[in-house]
Subunit: 225 residues, 2 copies
């Protein structure tokens, strides 16, 4: 129990810079909670005074758009969740929902802020993380809006395979309608395009189990729409 934060610190660069006294501060002011697939972890519009750290699992980050809820991205552990939303104002500006069973650590915001002020390295790391995250969001948006659905779908499959599951074979963690949402397309289009990829022998599908048979083709589609 006592070395939980230490464990996280071994994984996250931003936490490695913490001194043991600071780790203890976090230690005694955090709560680890289990979430089941489908459970909401952060809800947009809700008041929150905790920094949320995803220890294990996979989540979707989604935001209320002008017409419908939109999945911004998937995030896998270990990572902070809702840093910008928590630090900015205390009302969550987006939602986070578990798409796989997840383990989440809630850290008191004031303690977190105090540690942030006490430790320059830590705050540098957090700043760096925020910077990267913003740049990433620019890139993601440029992709979403410029590529057509086929290319974005290929990207999602490649991302799941390469970054999330690190395997050519994996089980889709979200429904086709969620995928549609993630690539700004209708559920039907996603379905049709997946069938197309199957027929072309680029992927194999059995239910939600997917195997990427021809990665280079998929990369080509990602590039050329």
């Amino acid at each position: 129990m006592k070395n939980e934060c230490l464990n996280c610190a071994c994984v996250m660069k931003s936490m490695q810079s913490l001194k043991s006294c600071q780790l203890e501060q976090l230690e005694s002011n955090h709560a680890v909670v289990q979430f089941r697939k489908g459970d909401p972890i952060i809800k947009q519009g809700m008041f929150s005074t905790n920094v949320v750290f995803l220890k294990s699992g996979l989540v979707k980050i989604h935001i209320t758009g002008p017409y419908h809820e939109q999945i911004v991205r998937l995030a896998k552990a270990p990572t902070y969740l809702g840093l910008p939303t928590t630090i900015g104002d205390k009302i969550n500006q987006y939602s986070v929902t578990a798409v796989q069973d997840s383990e989440v650590c809630f850290i008191d915001l004031n303690i977190f802020k105090r540690v942030l002020e006490e430790n320059k390295d830590f705050s540098s790391h957090i700043i760096l993380e925020l910077c990267k995250s913003e740049l990433e969001s620019y890139r993601r948006c440029a992709n979403r809006t410029q590529k057509q659905t086929r290319g974005n779908l290929a990207d999602v499959l490649l991302d799941l395979s390469e970054n999330v599951f690190e395997s050519a074979e994996f089980v889709l963690p979200i429904s086709q309608s969620d995928i549609g949402n993630l690539v700004d397309a209708s559920r039907e289009s996603v379905n049709r395009l997946l069938s197309e990829l199957m027929n072309d022998g680029i992927i194999r599908m059995e239910g939600r189990k997917i195997e990427i048979l021809n990665k280079s083709s998929l990369q080509l589609i990602s590039q050329n729409g």
Copy 2:
């Protein structure tokens, strides 16, 4: 000359927290440069060791997408430019171009970082700014992708009127093809939709001079596509 940074500090919340000795540090390590309309201020891919602060003027932030350059947003003074791109790695991750004559202050990155470490309030403000900026980029992306062109165009006009020029009458600072880029539409579509707005008596246009005649209609279009 000597009180230039002080002037900025009067305007920017993040700089108000600076002590006079820290202001002096910035003072002696910055350079103010004038840019003409159309001049590039930050170029994606270039090496940079300066934090860039827009003292006056209006710029467009644009990024290389998979198919073409995309305008992420317009930014008006006073504001930092490319904070995330500069702090993150030193290679600019996006470009900034003046769309009106602008005055820009280049601050040495190391000095900026030192002040960031020395002054907790300052670093808190910067963190806050980065957080807000990331949230804003999520929202912008949700809008871009969910709304159709008519709605996004209405948004641009409203934004220019309300936030940038603070007047119902203003001169478009960018071309129709740039507007198209900003709302993910072709130049032709933008042109047609602008004509439509004119015909419907919602705006008046003479060259690039625009007057919003019916703001509430425009707001309705912004909401309902």
